[in-house]
Subunit: 323 residues, 3 copies
Amino acid sequence: MNLTKNTYLLQTLLKNNNITFKKSYIKKKIYIKNAGDLKSSRKNYISFFSNLKYLNLLKKTKADVIITKENFKQYIPKNKIILISDYPEIDFAKILSFFYPQSYYSTINYKKLKLEEITKKFPNLKFGINFYLENNVKIGNNVQIGNNVTIKQNCKIGNNVIIGSNVVIESSDIFDDVHICDGSIIGKKGFGFKFIGKNCIRIPHIGRVQIHKGCEIGANSVIDRGSVGNTIVGEYTFFDNLVHIAHNVVIGKRCIFAGQVGIAGSTKIGNYVTIGGQAGISGHLKIGDNVKIGGKSGVVKNIKDNEVVMGYPAKPIKEFLKN
Amino acid sequence: MNLTKNTYLLQTLLKNNNITFKKSYIKKKIYIKNAGDLKSSRKNYISFFSNLKYLNLLKKTKADVIITKENFKQYIPKNKIILISDYPEIDFAKILSFFYPQSYYSTINYKKLKLEEITKKFPNLKFGINFYLENNVKIGNNVQIGNNVTIKQNCKIGNNVIIGSNVVIESSDIFDDVHICDGSIIGKKGFGFKFIGKNCIRIPHIGRVQIHKGCEIGANSVIDRGSVGNTIVGEYTFFDNLVHIAHNVVIGKRCIFAGQVGIAGSTKIGNYVTIGGQAGISGHLKIGDNVKIGGKSGVVKNIKDNEVVMGYPAKPIKEFLKN
Amino acid sequence: MNLTKNTYLLQTLLKNNNITFKKSYIKKKIYIKNAGDLKSSRKNYISFFSNLKYLNLLKKTKADVIITKENFKQYIPKNKIILISDYPEIDFAKILSFFYPQSYYSTINYKKLKLEEITKKFPNLKFGINFYLENNVKIGNNVQIGNNVTIKQNCKIGNNVIIGSNVVIESSDIFDDVHICDGSIIGKKGFGFKFIGKNCIRIPHIGRVQIHKGCEIGANSVIDRGSVGNTIVGEYTFFDNLVHIAHNVVIGKRCIFAGQVGIAGSTKIGNYVTIGGQAGISGHLKIGDNVKIGGKSGVVKNIKDNEVVMGYPAKPIKEFLKN
C-alpha cells in the first residue's frame, strides 16, 4: 500500500479523526508520518503496546508515540510520547485507517491502465479479455494471464508466472514460476475486527501476501494478506483447490496442501509439510518441518518436527489407529 | 422476483402447463393470480399442504386453492378448492415455475443498464470495470463496487456498502454498511430437488437473501436464497472466506463464522453465536443465543442458549475434552 | 486438447526436448505421433509402464515405445522400443508436455471468437456480457450462459444447458440439461506433480471432464480434469456449493453431494450415492451403489453397495451411533 508523503501534527491528527484518549502525555510538539507495529515503526511513527510478550520489541522500537493501557505505562521508554487507551488496538486501528484509508476492505483505486499502456509497458505479456491492471505493478517476462483478472497497485509479479481466469490479486508479491489457478483471491483483507460493547471495529490490514518461487495455488482458493506483517507461502509449496489461508500465516517451502485445507490466522508451518484434504489448523500454532497431517484432521496444538498426526483433535497416527 | 400481473383461470392454467391431478374438487370458476406457501398466500393464490405440522397455518391461509394428498383432504377448510396429488410439493413446484419462470435456476434477464444510465441514475456510485446492473435495483449512497460485478433485478443495496470484485448478487437485500468480499455469490438458487421414480424435479426458489446492517461476507462464499421464505443474516454478523449458507437459514446478529463453515438448509441460529473454522451444522436445527461451536465441529442436534460445544458429533466442551 | 498432426523421429524428439535416458533400446528408426497411457495409445505412440498392476494392459498396448524402469524391462513385449528411466512417469510427462504444451496448466489460447462470429454460429444462444468463447466449441440448442463466462477450445455443451456467471470451462463435455452455477471452475488441470530430489515436476493433464445429462454443479465448485483418462459425473447427479472433485474421479448417476464435499483423485463412486455436507473421500477408493455417507464423514477405505456410514474414519452408522 502507498504511504502518504504528508506528516501531521499529532494533536491535529487525533482531532481530525475524532480520536480521544483517556490520558495523553504529549510532552513536545511532534509530527506523525505513519503508523506501524513496534518492529516496523521508524521515527515519527505511532505504534501501540498491549501485550507483555512484546516487551523486547518495545525497548527497541523507533516509534515516537506509543498507545498503551494505563497499567502498561510503566514499561514505555522515557523518551516516548504516551497515549493511554482502554483498547490500544482499536485506537491504533483508527489511526492506521487514516494512513491507509482502504486497508480495512480493499485497495481498488479505479485507476486502470489503458490497453495501450499495458501493451506498451509489457510488450510480451500475454493476457486475456477484460484485464484490469492498476498503476505501479511490476510484471516479469514470460507471464501469462487469463480472462477477467484484477491486479491492483503495488503488486509484483515475477517471471514465468501463470495466472488463471477470474483471479484477484492485491497487496501481493508473486515470485517466479508461480501458478495461480482460476478464481483465486490473493491478498484480500484478513478477517479481523473487535466488538467493543455494541460497536464493531474492523481491523485494517496493511500487510502483504508473498508467494515464493515455484508455488501453485489451486482454483477458488483464498489467501488473506497480513494485518501488519505479511502472509507468506514458501517456495515450491503447492495448494489444491478451495484452500483457505488466513492473515499472517507463514508457510515454509515444498509443502503440499490438498483440497479444502484451512489454516487459521498467524499459524507458522515449517518446510516439507504435507496436509491431507479438508484438514484444518487453528490459529497461532507452530507446525514443525517434515510434519504429515492426515486428511480431515483438526490440529489444535503445536506439532514438532517429523511427526505424523491424524484425527480431531489431531494426535500421533499410532494413537489414532489404535482407537 | 417479479410477480406477473396476469390472472389465469385455474383449469386453463393447469391445462397449459400439462399438470393433471388424481382428483380435483373445483367447485367454482376461479382465477389464479399467483402461488405461495400457506403463510404468504393471499386470495386467488394456489398453495399446498403436505405436513400436519403446518395444520395451524392451513386453518388461517388465504389461499383459495390447496394441493394436498388424498389422506390430508379431511383437514382442508370447506371453502377451499382442493387438488389431490401423490406429490403435492412437485405439482406445486410446477405451478411456481410457471409464475416464476427463472426461479429454478437463475434470474438473469440480459437487460443490462447502459453505462450512461448507471451514471445518471447513481451519480455518486463508484464501480469497477464490466459492471452488469439490471433494471429495478436500488443502490444507496457512498457505495463502492469492484470489477466484474453482476447485480440482478429487484435487488436493494443500502448505504456505505462495499462489494468486491467478481461478486454475483440476485434476489437479495443488502443493508447499510455491509461488506461483500471478492468472488462471493449471494442469492443463488438453493439446492432443492426431488427424485420421483426416474424423474428428477428441481424445486423453484422464489425467496430472497437478506443481509442486515454492518455484516461482512468473506471471499468466495456462497449464500443461497430461500425456497419460499428468505435466507437471513442478522446485523453485524461476520463470515470469513469460503463459507456456505444454504437456503432458508436464519442467522441472528453479531455472530462470527470462521473460514469454510457450512450451514445446511433451514437451520436457525441465534445472536452472538461464534463458530470455528470448518465447522458444519445440519439442516432444520435450532442453535440458541451466545452459543460457541469449536472449529471443525459437526452439529447434528439443537443447542440451547449459552452452550459451548465441540466435536463430531458436537457435544459440550467438557465432555469433548474428557475423551 | 488439440493433437498435433506432425510426427517426429524419436531421437530428434528426445534431443530437442533435452530428454536423456539411462539406456535406450532403439532397434529401428521410428516416428512418434503422440503419447498416451497403455490403454489409449495407438501405433507410433510413446507410453510408459511403471506398475505391475497394469501388466495386462502392457501386453495389449499398441504403443511402439515404452518408457520403463530397469527391473521392469523383462515384461515389455519383444516388438517394442524400450527406454529405461529411474522415473518413467516424469520422462513420460516431459514428452506429454511437448505434445500438449498447455496441459500442465491451462489451455487458454487467446483466440476468442468475435461477437458477430458467436451470434452467427449460435443464433439462438443466450449469453451475458463479456463472453469468451474459443474456437472449435459445440453448443446445443436452448442454452443460457451468464456473465463473464470463459469456454475454451474443444468443449462440447449440450442442449438446454444453463451456465451461471463467472464460470470457466475447459477440456470438458457438458451434456444436455446440465446446470452449472456461478463461479464454478470445470476442467482445471488436476493437482499432480512429483518431487524428484530438489526438482518439482508438474504432471500434465490431458484428460477431460464429462458431466452427463441433467446434472447440477453448485456455485464456486471445482472439478479437475483427468490426467490421462477422464473425470466423469454420471447423469442426474447433483452437487451443492463449494464441492471439490479431483482428477480422474468417476461418479455414477443420480448421486447427491451436499455443500463442501471433497473427493480425492481417482476414487470411483457408484450410482444413487448420497454424501452429506463437508464429508470427504480419500483417493483411489471404490464406493458402491446406494451408499449413504453422513455429513462430515471422512472415508478412508472402500465401501460396499447399500452401506450407510458416518464418522471419521467413517464406519457403519450403527457403530458410529453406539460410540
